[in-house]
Symmetry: D2
Subunit: 294 residues, 4 copies
């Protein structure tokens, strides 16, 4: 397949390597041109704009950081919408708002193009290993069409509906489950800690009994170890995702009390100078409120 | 070992069968005498009071429903404290307050007796199968002494500290993790649901990716299935546990924002006539707030 | 003074009548032209666009419903920014976001124009009577310049700072005080109600002791009377304001736990079909959670 | 009237002076006997126990700090219940739980005695000036009987119901209104503060517009002035009252989301070493979360 990938950050780069290795014919575009060099060396074509990149592509895959960047590369001058031929398929893999997913769906349709949302669960190393979880929504035929692409980067595709924003909703829900599990653990560590039980001992009870999912083990370890610098994922990025979650809640009229508490933790972290720390630092805030020095 | 067990509800009865099967010399007491008959048939001695039951016991095991019942069988007339010989060991396996655990420790010490808290994670069928998780706290030598008893009923003992209330704190934390995971799922089902994604589809994404612990699978299934009657564990019992959690938070000066939200869910459930439903019904309240008829 | 007023809804119309009565030379613009007729009859000039309206004005006063409308009449084609002469002063009296206030300040400055924010507290009848409270922020000289205008519509001007968004922040804070006082009263009525004390009796204790501000009396009466239809101010409008409040909290990194609870009340109201009711209906939601039929 | 007053703390002492001044025949009891001396000098009889104090009294008035103290002086050895003659009336003016109010009602009835709850709003200086607000509940005839006593100490009696606990519920509601107004103001000061608006300026807008009740003025001034030491009322005492509020919510099945947030503020204050500060310090916690150094 001819695939055009826009956005060579850590996640996009990992996907690009997987797609080349799987034998796809890849064209890449990145705002900072230097990032494209390693992919040219691997045989990818380098395009001067998203529009040029997607001109002859079957699938335009966009992996940029947020709504603003996704809108710019899609609807801006020389953007994906302008260059993608009728019948072409645009896939956005980033975490974007459900409002933008709806707009992408509508505007691509109006141009005779197709759109599916396919946000992913997993960090760049998982992409590198082809182990992402992919949540896909849109027309079933288009999801089928994208299957070879998904197979190259992910271990599993969840088809969650016919309307693209459904995949984004599910993705925001998964991120919320991560954030709120960190908060759960933060409260538990604070209470157990003031009773004299170490975080590691409490986490051990959890992961050796009913609370042994990756979300418990991975984020529990981050909170217990307390190394929040350098960050895996920054507080500021998590804050963006919780904003998207609450916007979805507002658009769909769904009160989310745990969501609001997580929001306040993020704002407090930012206010207290932790914007660039790993977002697992939120798992220490309950202790801070409880007067435990961290 | 000579073991005296007070409290033959579903959990105590399951433990009693395991202890007899393991060859221990068991004496039982139950307020409602009829419950003791099957155990007499299995060879247990039936005592007319807790004090009589524990008179020649190595270990007095108490498995009654709450603080009030535990205080009654322990410090009431003809209670455990009165009958247990100096050097004897009292173990409370029920979910009690940390304040009562402290009191049990202090008063047994004053009588030359020993005390350890050993609350369990798991329901009666797990006890029946010897698969409970046991959280034990108190003097290490006493926990070692109780090991044969624990081996008969549980798959794993977590020794969490020298002070009995530490085990109760950890137990309350585990219950809170269950309650707040139900709330997480409730919020996620509400948001995904209003985007047109079925609960079962959302749960499937969870349990096939990062959220696949027993707490997700078991309680997620209960919430999705929506069969809250007859209850496994009642709303009223969960409400009691969240009260004990928040009391612990108050005693130790630990704010617990998620804990408070769960508390309000319980109160709303009770106010709305759901006191005797399975407590997993709380996983439907976020949908109710979001205007989804359940 | 020559004043150009854009936006003849209930509030803008009341202000227009006051300004004409005070002898100012008024030009009006309204999207729906019919609304301008009564003002033409009173001697106002009717302009075909905001740009035309402000062309010879000293002060351009904008009183439209939200950010989108304010941006449209200001920066859209034939908008205020295009028509206002250098040195002219633009005043936005509507409740807008702090982000938009910052943008208005920046863009007007870049055009050699002046900008101040002057949101008001009070409903249209208060404007009609010249009894509004005005929160003004921006350059002191410009606030002084606008004084005759303010004197015509308000009983009091609070100068809250040199930066226009400060007035909008203070206005959002005042609205939040109203919303959260309604929630306070809702919780109090629910608790007292379940103890058998009528809402009116509880409110009487409040307003005859320490809680006798207009916010208590006016909104307390609305909640007690329970006539939410037709609405004075709609749930949907209040929901907009709490969104602006929380956006301000996000922009300034300020957790607002009461603000989030109010947000969830609004979302629940909308989800439950109350979008077009008076927003005082939120004062009945605590009772609903408590199982009291309303 | 012959009145027996138990409890000569600041509030009880102020009441005692008013009652003597009004010409009532007063007997006093206080655990620490030294406190009784000034009253002996003013003509009061000093009794060696609550039971002795009330033996010939029409009305037994109890003004001690909490449930434990009230239970001790009422139901303990030589307590009020033991000494009060049949037909005598017991009034508890302290802030006690609704559960204890119910118990007092039941037990006094069983002894042929009468009981009414009459908690007060106002601090000792208000009592000294006869300016308290009194919330009274119980049999109307008994409230009428107590009228001369109330007239001596208060400016206003609110009769809120036939069941004594109703007065306690209303009192807890009033305290909650104070706490949650402090939290409102804390959030507002934090948001306005980060926009560059001083607390005093924000408070001025409030108290000069719709938010000008004593609760705003008095507590607003405390928060703005920031003098929390020495305390008027301590954090620890406020924490007790919010606990009683939430217990009432639990007993009556009323979720109180604002109440829970206030609870967490109290626990955080205690955890952070502020137990003995004035409870208005809670109005600074939102700023603390927002990273503003206080």
């Amino acid at each position: 397949m001819r695939i055009a990938l826009t956005g060579l950050g850590p996640m996009g780069s990992a996907m690009a390597r997987r797609l080349i290795a799987a034998g796809h014919d890849l064209t890449v575009f990145n705002r900072t041109a230097a990032n494209t060099e390693p992919f040219a060396a691997l045989g990818a074509t380098v395009a001067p704009s998203p529009a040029e990149a997607v001109k002859t592509a079957d699938i335009a895959l966009t992996v940029v950081s947020d709504d603003t960047a996704t809108e710019a590369v899609t609807f801006g001058p020389d953007g994906v919408a302008e260059g993608l031929p009728p019948g072409g398929l645009h896939i956005v893999a980033g975490t974007i708002s459900i409002a933008l997913a709806d707009r992408l769906d509508t505007e691509h349709r109006a141009r005779g193009q197709h759109y599916i949302s396919a946000p992913v669960l997993g960090r760049p190393p998982a992409a590198e290993a082809g182990q992402l979880f992919i949540m896909a929504a849109g027309e079933a035929a288009q999801i089928a069409r994208a299957r070879p692409l998904f197979d190259a980067i992910g271990q599993r595709v969840f088809e969650v509906g016919e309307r693209p924003m459904q995949a984004n909703t599910v993705k925001l829900c998964c991120n919320f489950l991560i954030f709120s599990t960190i908060e759960q653990m933060g409260e538990v560590f604070a209470l157990a800690g003031k009773a004299g039980v170490e975080r590691a001992a409490m986490l051990n009870v959890m992961t050796e009994s009913f609370f042994n999912a990756p979300v418990h083990k991975n984020y529990g370890k981050l909170v217990v170890d307390g190394v929040f610098d350098p960050p895996g994922v920054k507080v500021s990025l998590g804050a963006k995702d919780v904003r998207l979650l609450l916007q979805a809640g507002e658009q769909l009229a769904v009160p989310l009390p745990f969501g609001s508490i997580v929001r306040d933790r993020y704002l407090a972290a930012i206010a207290q100078g932790e914007k660039d720390k790993d977002f697992a630092i939120l798992g220490r805030h309950a202790e801070r409120d409880a007067g435990i020095e961290s």
